[in-house]
Symmetry: C2
Subunit: 323 residues, 2 copies
């Protein structure tokens, strides 16, 4: 279950605590990146994208809208170490031209890049904003959940953080985005193969994908595992396009969102042993960014190991700036 930040969703959080969410045939219910059915160990997740909330057409081509949405959903499968099979696409568009076809073409390309196919969907003409909801289905033998992190584990992340957020900041201030940052926002690539490789190569204790930003997603992982996560600011793999931003991009890397990288917990030293092979295989950095200790929440340390305040949630761009 993905929930937007902030107190506007307190109602629904309370509701989910009361709702009937476990039953026969359900291996993993709400609260993780995917639900997992007992039948065939099918992992499921959905991701809703709405124009003016999650994207503006000025920022994305129609094909990008489809690609982005499908990769955001596939990123949830990756976070459970599930192999994608296919997706259902529910789409509402206003116009009678090739809008739907171009968005669906991006969806299909996004799926194809992960060995998955379009399974079906629902298409509606609507005068409102473009709505695209992607539900992905995958298969998983041993799902990696958010809840398995233990004190003493290390916290690692794939890739670079803050690039997509840097692009949004640029567009919102009507300046040109760094091309690499723009690509990070427009064409994220779910870390499917990377997640399967990591789950095979090192015992992963817990994993989540970075959609809200490392600070928020690490907090989800900490809460699900009942632990405290300590992040070391100096180790964060800040995207080069984020570095010109305040605090050398650390705030964007922690709070920007839309990275669709993986964050996971593993026993000490086991990831270090495979990190070079990972980087060689995928051409993607793998960085230890912190550790797990007893407690709750997420803490941030500076280069000298002193606690420093977590950048404020002012970087939650959609919560504050959507009309």
């Amino acid at each position: 279950m993905t929930l937007g930040p902030g107190r506007e969703f307190d109602h629904i959080r309370r509701f989910l605590q009361r709702a009937h969410t476990t039953g026969p045939g359900v291996l993993v219910g709400p609260g993780d990146d995917c639900a997992v059915l007992s039948d065939g160990r099918v992992a499921l997740s959905c991701d809703l994208s709405i124009e003016h909330i999650h994207f503006e057409r000025a920022w994305l081509s129609l094909e990008d809208i489809g690609w982005r949405a499908v990769n955001a959903a596939l990123s949830d499968l990756a976070a459970c170490a599930a192999r994608p099979v296919g997706a259902l696409a529910s789409l509402a568009v206003a116009s009678d031209d090739d809008t739907a076809e171009r968005i669906m073409s991006g969806v299909a390309d996004g799926l194809l890049a992960h060995g998955a196919v379009l399974l079906g969907g629902d298409l509606t003409r609507s005068p409102g904003p473009v709505v695209l909801d992607i539900t992905v289905a995958g298969s998983v033998v041993e799902p990696v959940l958010r809840s398995g992190a233990k004190p003493g584990n290390e916290i690692w992340v794939t890739g670079q953080l803050g690039g997509a957020a840097a692009a949004i900041r640029a567009w919102q201030s009507n300046t040109a985005a760094d091309p690499a940052a723009a690509a990070a926002f427009r064409r994220p690539r779910a870390r499917t193969a990377e997640a399967l490789w990591l789950a095979q190569s090192a015992a992963l204790r817990a994993m989540i994908d970075l959609s809200d930003g490392l600070a928020g997603d690490a907090a989800h992982l900490a809460a699900a595992s009942g632990v405290r996560i300590v992040l070391e600011a100096a180790t964060l793999p800040v995207h080069p396009a984020a570095r010109p931003f305040p605090d050398n991009g650390i705030a964007l890397a922690l709070g920007g969102g839309d990275d669709y990288e993986l964050c996971f917990a593993a026993d000490a030293h086991v990831v270090e042993a495979v990190a070079d092979a990972f980087a060689e295989t995928f051409g993607l950095p793998l960085r230890r960014v912190g550790y797990v200790e007893a407690g709750s929440g997420v803490a941030l340390l500076d280069a000298a190991g002193r606690p420093r305040p977590m950048p404020a949630a002012g970087f939650d761009h959609f919560a504050s700036e959507s009309p």
Copy 2:
């Protein structure tokens, strides 16, 4: 894949013909009521509901919106003779009050009535119309597809047709709807148990759920099976609330939509043998409404067996009346 009527979706139909929609792990791809994964024989379908397109809040309580959407999606599982396991709900609402909670309460109640649970979802605050996309997952041993009807088969439908459409007509002309018609629209009940019973009790050759209206859905079934379906107007189980409408409600029963009953093809005489037991078990009529012959399309016969024109698609209320 559900597609709205009319030529505005020609683009996407062409696209789907080109798209990559079969692959490893896919037993049934787009074009039927559900997709079916090889893994665990999991059946999947989604249904997108958008305010002002599929419903008005003046017609439905917030709980009704959730109930209706989940039953519409479960109706697709029923059409494949799949047993519901759970659903993902993607919801966008504008307000900060209990709107989301009340809609989700209707979703959860709708699932519970079918022995299914909430698996997860995605919740977004959006200033636009209420958006609710429900993806249901079920398990199925032998999916009943749209494509198995053969010349000589009989065509049967469950329940009564045109009730929901009668309610919409009343509301659209600012009159009070018949209470039974209003209930048919607000609280449809997917024919889950009925479909499983029928699939056990009689060899079903093909099945579809009635969401667009019998004329349109029979046409989908005929096209998928490569046959012609002949409907006999005098046999149609017209909902009592539809009878005051023109043509004694036959046009509403054929073109009204939103019935969420089942329409299926079976060998001659096999359903007749179990129809009384069905009616006794479910308190629901089961009516033979026509037959299958070689050819294509859907024909309508009057009481004397003479061809009569199919009522025009003017009853597709959303295509013409949404802004």
